[in-house]
Symmetry: C2
Subunit: 210 residues, 2 copies
């Protein structure tokens, strides 16, 4: 199962994803040409790379999706995601709207979640408090957020990230309930359809004994 988490910069995607229980989920790590922010660890938060390296990966079809965002390139390396899915894990992709639409097109069975703070004021506050970008970048990110929210209806779920613990719980509930869709339980459905327990014989025997 592929779980897409999108939302404007400052919506809290990163924090939420860090809190999700890692045993159940594999977290896809994106490639980006963006500069590392303070505290970001290469190979953990992102694979930081040059523009040339990014273009090479993209052109060699090594990316599941890619998008340009506020002047930087972002992409999802294909190999890791495919390996995790083969192992039956849910893979979480933190990607932007453009990448999300690409993934939904390729993986019909993916689940998409849009994360958003309650108001734009809160979004702006978070971006400013983060102190990782200059004012110009923050303004561009908020402008970008205005266009991103136009895509909310293309997502399967909308989670308002008002309080982090409650947001994490909501996302866990979404994933748990998605596992209960019939098409994700074909093995059980086959087994119950093929279950040839002869109730009639057993019941008639019980009835005779009484």
């Amino acid at each position: 199962m592929l779980v897409i988490i999108s939302g404007p910069s400052g919506s809290g995607k990163g924090t939420v994803i860090k809190k999700l229980n890692r045993q159940d989920f594999a977290l896809s790590i994106s490639m980006t040409t963006r500069e590392p922010r303070a505290g970001e660890v290469p190979g953990k938060d992102y694979f930081f790379c040059t523009k040339e390296e990014f273009i090479l990966a993209r052109d060699n079809n090594h990316l599941l999706e890619h998008a340009e965002f506020v002047g930087n390139m972002y992409g999802t390396p294909k190999k890791y995601v495919e390996e995790q899915i083969e192992q039956g894990k849910a893979v979480i992709l933190e990607i932007d709207v453009e990448g999300a639409l690409q993934i939904k097109e390729k993986f019909k069975d993916s689940i998409s979640i849009f994360l958003m703070p309650l108001t734009f004021k809160e979004l702006a506050t978070r971006l400013v408090m983060r102190k990782t970008e200059d004012v110009d970048t923050v303004i561009r990110r908020i402008r970008r957020a205005r266009s991103e929210i136009e895509y909310i209806h293309r997502y399967d779920y909308l989670v308002i990230n008002d309080e982090i613990e409650s947001t994490v719980t909501k996302i866990q509930k979404i994933i748990d309930s998605e596992y209960l869709k019939p098409h994700r339980n074909e093995e059980y459905i086959e087994s119950i359809k093929g279950d040839d327990y002869d109730a009639t014989a057993v019941l008639l025997r019980i009835d005779d004994e009484n």
Copy 2:
């Protein structure tokens, strides 16, 4: 929101529904021509009625759905459900496969859950332990169950009722996550699209001050 819970007789629908938190849910009470089982309370478990009364309600279009089941008629009175939905409550309908398909056709936004024990042996055991029907009825109910499971893929969710508490939790998670679908949050989406907080002005002012 309409929540349909179906599942063979003996799948535990009744027990599960009794355990769901009643504050969040309104439970629709069905009309039936079936005889009350030991312990069943008229007006609480069912509205028990004669065949003539049932036909009158059906022909006067007072039922949301109706179906015949092992020789008895079952139906959902329309008025109560409509009242609860107007009050913004989730209404739970415990109905059979035939009724569920009727409701899904009329209410595109309804959620349907199919409840099933792990095996037919367990289903038979539960029906026998219940001691409310004779062996012939139990055999007919199991035969009916075999045809009902053919419809699992028509349901939105499949819950294997292996352990009652876990089943209740699963159904609550399904309902909670369904509330996170974008089309059930139009009010928020409208408000955020209309949110005209002028981040640029505020941010430039902060920038000037620094």
